[in-house]
């Protein structure tokens, strides 16, 4: 031991393990480098905020579509009878559409051109003879029904010639689910007109007089109402808004996008002379990685805090729905810290394996996008095909999102989401194992 003492100017460095003084010095170094990178800080904080505001605004407009931003519908009524007009009025009453009734004098209107001119997403053409067809059809059904009440409706053959069908033009930007919703609304309006005509004819045939208006209304419009109740663990009946859906999801996306700056920082340190020097020093390179975990873990926590505060305080001021923070703040803190820890470890893993900053940035960005997609950030997980439903379990973003939704949407507490947290920690552990393998393989530890 004497020779060691002769040559050591100091003897404080441990053979293995983590030295807190070294870790502290490394954290200070990493903090200084991070704080001096103004552009990097801008990207880390400002861009996610912008992303959350933009996405929430866009999604909010869909949420509010039925209330404020109605779908523009161009109606071209070729029917000369009262039922074409009644159908138009019925569609207006649905409340989903901003109606533009077109000039009916033109025989062959160029519908696509008119949709472009009048900025309409949907156009409906009510064919000529619509009233006549509906009334004849109703009379036919009524008379057949009265002649042979036991006859199977499937044996009824249409004795009334069909006019042209109702035609619905739609703008190709409309997604399938949205289009189906519009089509369903129009179909129900037609159904009401048809039902009304049949009821009238049946009543007239039986009672030899016109149906009283009160009875007609009771038959046609006395449906049992449907109440929408969001599932909530807290018993709250507040309907989740666009902010409750989007802010947690895109906050997670922003946290995982730390891969761009952190993965790049790991590669930069690896490729610069700094790593050669660090490898010849008497302390483990793990100090450098633990420091990065701490510093960038703090960054992800700050990102989340800033975005949640903006959602809660700023959103109402700029016309977006307020983000209601969960009642279980401890749960929110734990989910955020575990998600941030996972994001940081993922970024370090990418940085350890990437040879260049370009590789790290390219792979990091695309892989986070893929993890977000299969994790249910872009499309709800319940809407995914079955093979992707199995894959989403490998995405840390899925478990983090489920945990956030448990708190933000369902009003749950920590005890309700602990399985998600454990799954997230297991994935983080696996990422760390892969990182350790890379560090060993590259002779870094």
């Amino acid at each position: 031991m004497k020779i060691w003492k002769d040559y050591f100017w100091h003897s404080q460095v441990k053979d293995s393990g983590i030295d807190m003084r070294i870790l502290k010095a490394t954290i200070i170094k990493d903090l200084k480098i991070l704080l001096r990178d103004r552009l990097g800080l801008f990207l880390i904080f400002f861009m996610p905020i912008l992303l959350v505001i933009v996405i929430t605004s866009v999604q909010n407009s869909t949420f509010e579509l039925v209330n404020n931003n109605k779908i523009s519908l161009l109606v071209y009524n070729k029917d000369q009878g009262p039922l074409g007009a009644a159908l138009t009025e019925g569609i207006r009453k649905i409340g989903l559409f901003r109606l533009q009734v077109s000039d009916t004098t033109q025989k062959n209107p160029d519908i696509p051109a008119r949709m472009h001119d009048q900025d309409a997403l949907v156009a409906l053409i009510i064919p000529a003879g619509f009233t006549e067809y509906i009334q004849n059809k109703a009379e036919d059904i009524a008379s057949r029904a009265l002649k042979d009440p036991d006859s199977d409706s499937r044996n009824l053959s249409p004795s009334v010639p069909l006019p042209d069908s109702l035609q619905m033009y739609y703008h190709p930007v409309m997604q399938a689910t949205f289009r189906q919703s519009v089509e369903g609304s129009l179909r129900s309006a037609v159904q009401v007109i048809q039902g009304q005509a049949i009821v009238k004819k049946l009543y007239e045939a039986v009672n030899q007089k016109e149906i009283p208006q009160d009875l007609e209304k009771q038959i046609l419009f006395s449906q049992l109402p449907i109440s929408e109740i969001p599932v909530s663990r807290s018993g709250s009946r507040t309907v989740p808004n666009a902010s409750q859906h989007n802010v947690p999801a895109w906050t997670l996306f922003a946290m995982f996008f730390i891969v761009i700056s952190l993965g790049g920082a790991v590669v930069k340190e690896k490729n610069s002379g700094s790593l050669i020097r660090l490898k010849t020093l008497p302390a483990s390179y793990l100090h450098a990685l633990y420091s990065k975990q701490f510093v960038y873990g703090m960054v992800t926590m700050l990102q989340a805090a800033v975005i949640f505060v903006i959602g809660n305080k700023l959103f109402p001021l700029i016309g977006l729905p307020v983000l209601h923070l969960p009642k279980d703040i401890l749960g929110l803190f734990i989910v955020t810290i575990v998600s941030g820890y996972c994001a940081v470890n993922y970024a370090i893993c990418v940085g350890v394996y990437a040879r260049t900053a370009e590789q790290s940035n390219g792979f990091g960005a695309i892989s986070v996008l893929i993890l977000a997609a299969i994790g249910g950030l872009l499309v709800p997980s319940f809407a995914m095909p079955s093979h992707l439903q199995k894959m989403l379990q490998v995405s840390p973003l899925h478990w983090a999102l489920e945990a956030y939704y448990g708190l933000f949407l369902e009003g749950g507490k920590l005890k309700d989401i602990w399985m998600n947290i454990i799954s997230l920690l297991v994935i983080t552990g696996l990422i760390q194992l892969v990182t350790l393998y890379g560090l060993k393989k590259k002779n870094l530890i």
Binding site: I3, D6, Y7, F8, W9, H10, S11, Q12, V13, K14, D15, S16, D19, R21, I22, K24, A25, T26, I28, K29, K32, I33, R36, D37, S272, G273, S274, I276, R277, L278, K279, T280, L281, P282, A283, S284, H287, N443
Partner: protein, 248 residues
Amino acid sequence: MSIPAITIQKLAFHYPRSEGVCFENFNLEIQAGERFGLFGPNGAGKTTLIHLMTGLLKYREGSIRLLGHEISRHPKSINSLFGFVPQDFSYYPELSPRENLAFYGAWYGLDRKQIKTRTDELLEVLGLSDVGDRFLQSFSGGMKRRVNLAIGVMHRPKLLFLDEPTVGVDVQSRHNIIEYLKSQNKSGTTLVYTSHQMEEAAILCNKIALMDDGKIIAHDSPEALMQKHGYEDMEGLFLALTGKRFRD
């Protein structure tokens, strides 16, 4: 009997897929207190040998002992015995020299007081006191080389490896660096030095080894080698022993 600073015995090393230089049955001994120069053309194996001695590269056969300790048996703690000044700038350009020295000082295990004292001392002696708090990004090549050197000697090592520490610097900086290294050697630090600058061999080194293709082709003091081969300058001796063909 004093322990040699470095003892290399029967060292065998080759890069994967046979890329680059390889060593077979390589032997070398450097005595404590020497200013030892490793010279040779590009690709001779100087940097590889330094990386093997500092543990940056792992060897499977033979042994390398630093101050009597086999480095493969002491993977990390043995690194306190030596300092290393790599050829590339190995510091954080976003930090000042003072901040870099504080960081690396902590990694060498120095306490806050030792770091402060040693930082002031090194900045003064290497002519960096006035710029100690400026970011390294704005420094000249000579200043960067001096900071690179300062980090390597931060913990007062008894053994200092220098891989071309004067490359790309002006005459003044080179003179200062060489004088500083001589002063370190006088206070007991063994120097192991590589360079392409043959005139530095005569100025700085009291023992040199000429390397080519992973082998030592001459090993003695500069004066003795020149006398033995009948040359009056190191460059002539170098060309005579290693040839005049390009080495890239």
